[in-house]
């Protein structure tokens, strides 16, 4: 059974949320709807930091690796030696590696956001429901 509580202001909403958690309701059984970001919610529900940052890290590392690998591969594949300078020159390749790190990092963070938030949510897109100006709490109670 899901209980739905509606508040028209942030203060009452946060007070009720604290009361519920203190009263022994597991944070996993609580969901909310907020018209804007309320950073206190994460503290009250003791949420873990979002996993989006792991996606960003992996994407960034992969991008940096791709940048170095791509540039190194192309110069070795078609060698043009000039002035006895090294073929695989790290300093100029770092520029490419940096750009690809940012590109892959940002795109994979966005992908991570979509996966972690279950978006695009087809059911919500199709439904006629819209966000409101109210704060809502959904509490799942057993039985």
């Amino acid at each position: 059974m899901t209980e739905r509580l509606i508040f028209d202001n942030e203060h009452d909403f946060l007070a009720k949320l604290k009361e519920l958690v203190r009263g022994g309701v597991h944070p996993k059984c609580i969901d909310i709807r907020a018209p804007h970001a309320v950073h206190e919610v994460e503290d009250i529900l003791a949420s873990r930091p979002s996993r989006v940052r792991v996606f960003a890290l992996i994407g960034g590392l992969l991008g940096a690796f791709t940048g170095y690998a791509f540039t190194a591969f192309t110069v070795i594949d078609w060698p043009l030696v000039s002035g006895g300078k090294p073929m695989v020159a790290i300093p100029p390749f770092t520029v490419i590696a940096f750009e690809l790190m940012v590109l892959f990092g940002a795109l994979s963070a966005f992908l991570g956001f979509a996966i972690e938030s279950r978006m695009p949510a087809i059911r919500t897109i199709v439904s006629d429901d819209t966000v409101t100006d109210d704060f809502e709490i959904y509490v799942q109670r057993k039985g």
Binding site: V38, L103, A106, A109, T124
Partner: protein
Amino acid sequence: MFAVSTYLTVSVVFFYVGLIPDLAIVKRYTRGARRWIYSALSLGWVGSKEQWRNYNMLYALLAGFATPLVLSVHSVVSWDFAMAIVPGWHSTIFAPYFVAGAIFSGCAMVMTLVIPMRKIHHLESVIPIDHFDMLARTLLLTSLIVGYSYIVELVISWYSGNVYEFGIFAARATGHYRISYWTMVACNVFIPLSLFVGKLRRNLGYLFVLSIFVNIGMWLERFVIIASSLAKEYDPYSWGNYKPSFVEVGITIGTFGFFFMMFLLFSKYLPVVAITEKKEEVH
């Protein structure tokens, strides 16, 4: 190419992510086909616990990615010039000079667009005058950096003792392109100095006119850098002054028209102010 296309892609993602919660709000106020489009674009945003948690993290990460990206992109673009041995381009000051110039002209363009938009959409309570004051301070700071770069360029070319390097700078200031050069210096260095006066920083009419001058100045900066150096390259036989043909003038006007069309479409169909951020501020 990597730099510019990465810049574009990351900027578009950043822009779109910021819009997602607002698109869900816009859905509420629309009907019919439009409602479907906004609904699909908002990806089914409802503002749940998980969505906000991931959204806040993503937004912080994108801001972290985008900030060094601005520095790198403008540095890379400036190195495209600086790596060439053309007199007037081959300079180590180019990277910070272009980064400061980008922020400078960016602030000016924001003023040019937002001051009329604020008036037309009656956003006086949403965008307070303090924001313009802060923007004007940033404009002043970056104008000082740009002015400093102009001086460094000139002094270093003189101090180097290289006649070709100094020759091109002397030609910029006194030769065929002297009007462009001094208009650029006036618009980018001298006119923005007036922002030291606190009252002028809060006078929107003045800021609007000033921002137009800065836009002209920054456009001329690019013109002077490119045209004046190429006009007097290595071999005197190939010297020649550049004058835009009417086709080139048409293309330039066309790009301006395209830009303003995109801006007007944006302000017609999308929220011009981040609604959820404003709500958070008010509560």
